[in-house]
């Protein structure tokens, strides 16, 4: 399921990263080497090269913003900025979007970008056989017109303030291109070089790029299935940077070493203790609040990630525009938890089954939860299941009391507005606020409504948001200009400089 949720972020993600938030140490001496090729180490090899055909997290990491660009891009700090769209106009009713394209943009194959390519690219995502997770978000698109080569007019069936954000996930591809699972034809600062499956994927600088050219000659992504092998590669300079460290154990060897820099960025991956809000005893708000208050999340985070990661107290990560620190809501308080349990009719506690995915960190976290809840008289039966069992038992059949899961996407608090989602949270007021937010006229209005909704969701303890994962990029101290937050698994490489 980690894979599934990851592919959710990934299969879908289609955008370009901004002039990424810098990062890395600005290397003191030594000049930047524009002829350098950056060696990147990753555990996410693409499954294929098409993000509408189940390419996975790896295809987003390697190609988003590097090979393919969207009309808009999502920056490393979570903002949406125009990219291939030079200009946009929105009608007063919010239903018609008119985009003017950047002039002089060419695909790697040499063909000039036209509005027909943009139309075809959006339709690729909404097509019947598309496996993009943005498919449903973009179902509001009613029609796309191309009055001339540089103008695209999109008509929506209803207002959607997230439309532009969702467009940042849509790769603009050459409408004439074929075999996109093994080839690529985008407009980005790199051309696709060779992909040696099971080993490396090479990108080379596009010298006829329409925008600011890449600051390095190319990038080679090296893929590893074993985290130790990946770290060893960094230690022996076989790679310059590791896109995302998966375990804190390996960090010590880099932390106290001047040749490396360990960057603690913000991820969007939340670890959830998800209650089934539709079944007893978790259909009672007090019970969920009591469980939430009985678990010391700071202690859990420290025991798993040491000094890394953040407790955020809700579903909204700091890079979402509607983030608020809600750790004070239902904060850790064992006495209050006991009182609430008694008030809910469980003075002597109760027993429940926790369906726990069998891969890290879930089993460790489940054991911690079990010992915390024992202190308030609640007994936890840990039922370890595989990712596939989770998908079938929990996600499809909703046959569970409580479970644990990682949710990797940004802006995914809106799922609490859908009462049919697996956790079964059903608050009419919240659903209505989330709907209104999507219909909002301005992003300020949207932000205000989603803040309001999120606060209610947190107060209702719809789930227990245990912590936000850290996003740890470890790089050679000779490197600078790499992204720190890896939003939606993107890894824009064009600003990376090796000195």
């Amino acid at each position: 399921m980690r894979r599934l949720l990851a592919s959710l972020a990934a299969v879908t993600a289609l955008s370009v990263l901004a002039a990424c938030g810098g990062g890395g140490s600005s290397s003191a001496d030594g000049k930047a080497d524009g002829a350098a090729t950056i060696q990147v180490g990753s555990v996410y090899e693409p499954q294929n090269l098409d993000n509408t055909a189940g390419g996975g997290q790896g295809v987003t990491e390697a190609l988003n913003g590097n090979v393919y660009e969207g009309l808009f891009k999502l920056t490393d700090d979570g903002k949406v900025e125009p990219l291939l769209a030079k200009d946009q106009k929105v009608s007063d009713d919010g239903l018609t979007y008119t985009f003017t394209l950047q002039p002089n943009v060419k695909f790697h194959s040499g063909k000039a970008l036209t509005s027909a390519d943009v139309k075809a690219s959006i339709e690729r995502v909404t097509a019947e056989n598309s496996k993009s997770a943005r498919k449903s978000n973009l179902s509001v698109v009613k029609s796309i017109a191309t009055p001339d080569d540089s103008t695209v007019v999109v008509t929506l069936s209803k207002r959607s303030i997230s439309f532009v954000y969702n467009l940042s996930y849509v790769w603009v591809v050459n409408s004439a291109a074929t075999d996109l699972t093994t080839k690529a034809d985008g407009t980005g600062p790199y051309k696709l070089g060779e992909w040696k499956r099971g080993s490396t994927l090479t990108l080379t600088r596009n010298d006829s790029y329409w925008g600011t050219p890449a600051k390095n000659a190319g990038v080679v992504f090296h893929y590893y299935t074993d985290a130790t092998a990946l770290n060893n590669a960094l230690l022996t300079n076989a790679v310059d940077v590791v896109t995302s460290e998966q375990s804190p154990d390996a960090l010590a060897q880099f932390k106290n070493n001047d040749s490396y820099k360990v960057n603690d960025g913000k991820s969007t991956t939340k670890l959830l203790l998800a209650f089934n809000d539709k079944v007893a005893p978790f259909n009672k708000v007090e019970v969920r609040q009591a469980i939430t208050q009985a678990i010391d999340k700071k202690k859990l985070l420290t025991s798993i990630w040491g000094e890394y990661g953040t407790v955020i107290g809700s579903m909204v990560p700091p890079t979402d525009p509607w983030y608020e620190d809600l750790t004070s809501v239902n904060a850790y308080d064992v006495a209050a938890a006991k009182t609430k349990l008694a008030a809910a009719g469980f003075p002597n506690g109760f027993t429940f089954t926790l369906d726990t995915p069998n891969y890290d960190p879930h089993p460790t976290a489940a054991t911690f939860i079990k010992s915390e809840l024992a202190k308030v008289g609640v007994t936890v039966n840990i039922n370890t299941i595989t990712a596939d069992q989770w998908y079938e038992k929990v996600y499809q059949k909703r046959d569970f009391q409580a479970t644990m899961q990682e949710h990797v996407n940004d802006r995914d608090v809106v799922w609490y507005g859908d009462p049919t989602f697996y956790w079964g949270y059903d608050n009419k007021q919240v659903t209505s606020w989330i709907d209104q937010a999507e219909q909002a006229k301005t992003t300020d209005e949207q932000t205000a409504l989603l803040k309001q909704a999120n606060k209610q969701i947190a107060t209702d303890a719809a789930s227990d948001w245990l912590y936000l994962y850290p996003q740890i990029v470890v790089a050679s101290s000779k490197l600078s200009g790499y992204p720190l937050n890896g939003l939606n698994s993107q890894f824009p490489a064009y600003d990376i400089v090796k000195s």
Partner: protein
């Protein structure tokens, strides 16, 4: 010999078919649906059904099996569910890593094990004979990936004389780096393999050492070394050849395991990835190639054993 060859070939073909059936059935018994691995969260039942149709996993098992077997005869191992690429070329692309690794490790293991095992047997009563035996015993108990990690720590991280893993982007065209990147994996596999081989060689030599014909040779005036060389080794070779065939197969499987420690783009990596993604055609392809290799090597071992020791031929023919 012809009769034996025919019979042994029939057994080989039967085993291959049996292995294919077993592989196919066992994979289908695994929980999990590859359609799920392809679709994002929030997929509707209709989308899942459409994905199953696309993958062919909605067909009856027997239909799926016959389709697969039919394709197999035309050399088509199917198409990966995930990458949409044909499996056979994928496997072929991995062989330039796995095959040299296996063969080099095997040769190294034999070159080390035969003299060391013989020495351990001939000098079984000396202290170093005992030590050699004990070291081999210990070596059998050590998992290959652990040996690999130790070697990486020593030679790549500390001494920095060899790469910690990976294979050159240019493949064997970068000959020097390609060889360098295989040194540690080869030594890892060979060390672990030679441990058990040493024990076999030692046992075989020990057995012939006490044999009557050797005593007779000695009584006719041959020195111990000459008696062993002239009469002992060929006899000792018979059980060792049988084991060698098995060991070559084990070396191949060892190589597959060790590949992931060294991040080598070989069959092992392909298999691990295939399993993670429920990519049945890939798993089946790799497993089938591995199983077939083991069976064919076993076949060659049996045949060569009979060439070395014609007595076996008469025994099996009667």
């Amino acid at each position: 010999m012809t009769r034996y060859l025919l019979r042994r070939t029939a057994i080989l073909i039967g085993s291959l078919f049996g292995a294919a059936v077993a592989l196919f059935v066992l994979l289908r018994l695994l929980p999990g649906d590859p359609a799920n691995a392809l679709l994002p969260v929030g997929a509707t039942p209709e989308q899942i059904e459409a994905a199953r149709r696309e993958l062919g996993t909605n067909e009856p098992l027997l239909t799926q099996f016959w389709t697969w077997l039919g394709d197999l005869f035309s050399g088509d191992l199917g198409t990966s569910l995930i990458s949409k690429l044909p499996v056979a070329p994928e496997i072929a692309a991995r062989l330039p890593v796995t095959v040299p690794l296996t063969l080099a490790a095997f040769v190294l293991a034999v070159v080390v094990a035969v003299p060391v095992g013989t020495l351990a047997a001939v000098r079984a009563d000396r202290w170093y004979g005992v030590v050699l035996n004990a070291v081999a015993q210990f070596g059998i108990a050590v998992p290959a990936f652990w040996v690999g990690l130790l070697l990486v720590t020593a030679f790549a991280l500390r001494l920095q004389v060899l790469p910690a893993g990976g294979f050159p982007t240019g493949g064997w065209a970068d000959f020097g780096p390609a060889v360098e990147s295989l040194v540690l994996p080869v030594v890892t596999v060979a060390l672990v393999m030679s441990a058990s081989l040493i024990r076999y060689v030692r046992a075989a030599v020990l057995e012939v050492k006490g044999a009557d014909y050797l005593r007779t040779a000695r009584s006719l005036g041959a020195s111990p070394a000459r008696a062993l060389w002239r009469h002992g080794l060929r006899n000792a070779a018979v059980p060792v050849i049988a084991v060698l065939a098995m060991e070559l197969a084990t070396t191949f499987l060892g190589a597959v395991v060790v590949e992931s420690v060294f991040a080598l783009p070989g069959l092992g990596g392909l298999l691990v990835k295939g399993i993670g993604e429920h990519d049945f055609p890939v798993i089946q392809g790799v497993m089938l190639v591995s199983t077939a290799t083991v069976l064919v090597v076993g076949f060659l071992g049996d045949v060569s054993q009979r060439l070395v020791d014609p007595r076996l031929l008469h025994r099996s023919a009667s």
